[in-house]
Amino acid sequence: MGWKEAAEPVLTRMPAVRRPEGHVPFKRKLAWTAGILVLYFFLTNIALLGLQTGEASDLFGEFRSILAGQQGSLLQVGIGPIVTASIVLQLLGGANLLGLDTDDPRDQVLYQGLQKLLVIVMVVLTALPMVFAGGFLPAQSSLQLGGLSLGQTGVQLLLFAQIFAGGVLILYMDEVVSKWGVGSGIGLFIIAGVSQKLVTGLIQPSTGGFFYNWYAIITGQITVGSIVGGDGLSTLLLGEGQIVALVTTVLIFGIVVYAESVRVEIPLSHARVKGARGRFPVKLIYASVLPMILVRAVQANVQFMGQILQSQWAGMPAWLGVYSEGQPVSGLFYYLAPIYSPQDWMWWTGAVTQEWWMVLIRVAIDVTVMVAGGAIFAIFWVETTDMGPEATARQIQNSGMQIPGFRQNVGVVEKVMERYIPQVTVIGGALVGLLAVMANMLGTIGAVTGTGLLLAVSITYKLYEEIAEEQLMEMHPMMRQMFGNE
């Protein structure tokens, strides 16, 4: 228990956003949420000072859509550091290495402090290579600021300071939404980013926009070959026509909303009040889609490492990675890169430069990582967020409910929960992983990626449920007591 005492003075003093005293009216909550959202969009539009224009390549690459933020803006790092810090905490907590009991108030404070400290460390670790290594954020060679003249290093430090401020700000914006608003800031930023890309992908008035492409196809600006014999069909379905992408996007929406309602319901009855009945739902995507972002973030971090190695190490062996235009085209980092679009794997169309067996290995690795990773992180997630059999049994017991036909005892409820929760979690996690890979392989509108789409839809659904619950509580103050928030 040594580290707790040593770290306590630092961890308990981490600045935190004040909690509201008493009940915050629903309208006020919406106002805070909207305010933070506007601030988020504002900050993604402020370009970093001292950045050389037009030469940066995004280190986040294809992961940008789930990590939020904007390349070259104050919110350069997005929620990347928060996600990475969360992975570290999940792994430490899941393996029970922390020795923190989240029911103990003192440990809760330590946990919160540790979480914040880890995010700040991750902001530094993400921002450092972005600014100081490679050409990810090339600094201007000199900058005149009033009377102050900055050299290359000075400008780099200035860039770093701005990115750092933006990264820490995102953390506190999330805290404001979590404590004063509806849902969570991270969820909000993910939805904001994905929706923006989705809408852009549909209506942007240039090549790539779904409606524009079809306008061009109909007016003959994009030539489509013969549908029967030539590659016309492929152009319409996978190419400029984007029909498959549209179908996939709509399908994912449908599947997620449907899967949200697939559940095992455990009947409950009240121990004292006769006739008061309830149900405890164990949802198919019980651990939700969020563990997916953790798997993707692991992949993203592996790819950053590849990018940084490639830019720093001239003699990188070919088996490790061969890069062309910033993308891995062969070697270990190629196989570890997830599939983003149909062009990445449909080797028969000629868009792929690799051999077919290389593509197959990459697809196999991607599917394995997502399915296995999805299941593993879902288990950790359930454990660390108190959704496991033990925690839920305690919650049911505390609310005075019991499972009809069983003794009123925490251990008994836990036994019943153990029959469902672990299995449902693993199946759900693996299923969501598979879905994300399939969506990526078939492509999505605006290249939001399958994971991005899954996240956006399920977070929106959760948000809807939460808003419904808020409104109910707003209308019936009695409900507030029942849900435990005064």
């Binding site: 308990t12 805070w32 809760q108 946990y111 309830g278 969020l290 609310s399 977070i459 849900f483």
Partner: protein
């Protein structure tokens, strides 16, 4: 209404960061308005400086 749907008020919808009710009395408390004000000021400052440099 599911009375059993008592998953606790602990978790936020995207619970990547968890906030608990207990807080240490030593902790520095920030007003949410301060966070927004800081964000707006940072944005405006960087934008103004960028315009001044160009």
């Amino acid at each position: 209404m599911d009375k059993g749907q008592n998953t606790g008020g602990l978790m936020s919808s995207a619970g990547l960061v968890r906030y608990f009710d207990s807080e240490d009395s030593n902790a520095i408390r920030i007003d949410p308005k301060t966070v927004i004000a800081f964000g707006v000021l940072l944005g405006v400052l960087v934008q103004l400086l960028t315009l001044a440099v160009a």
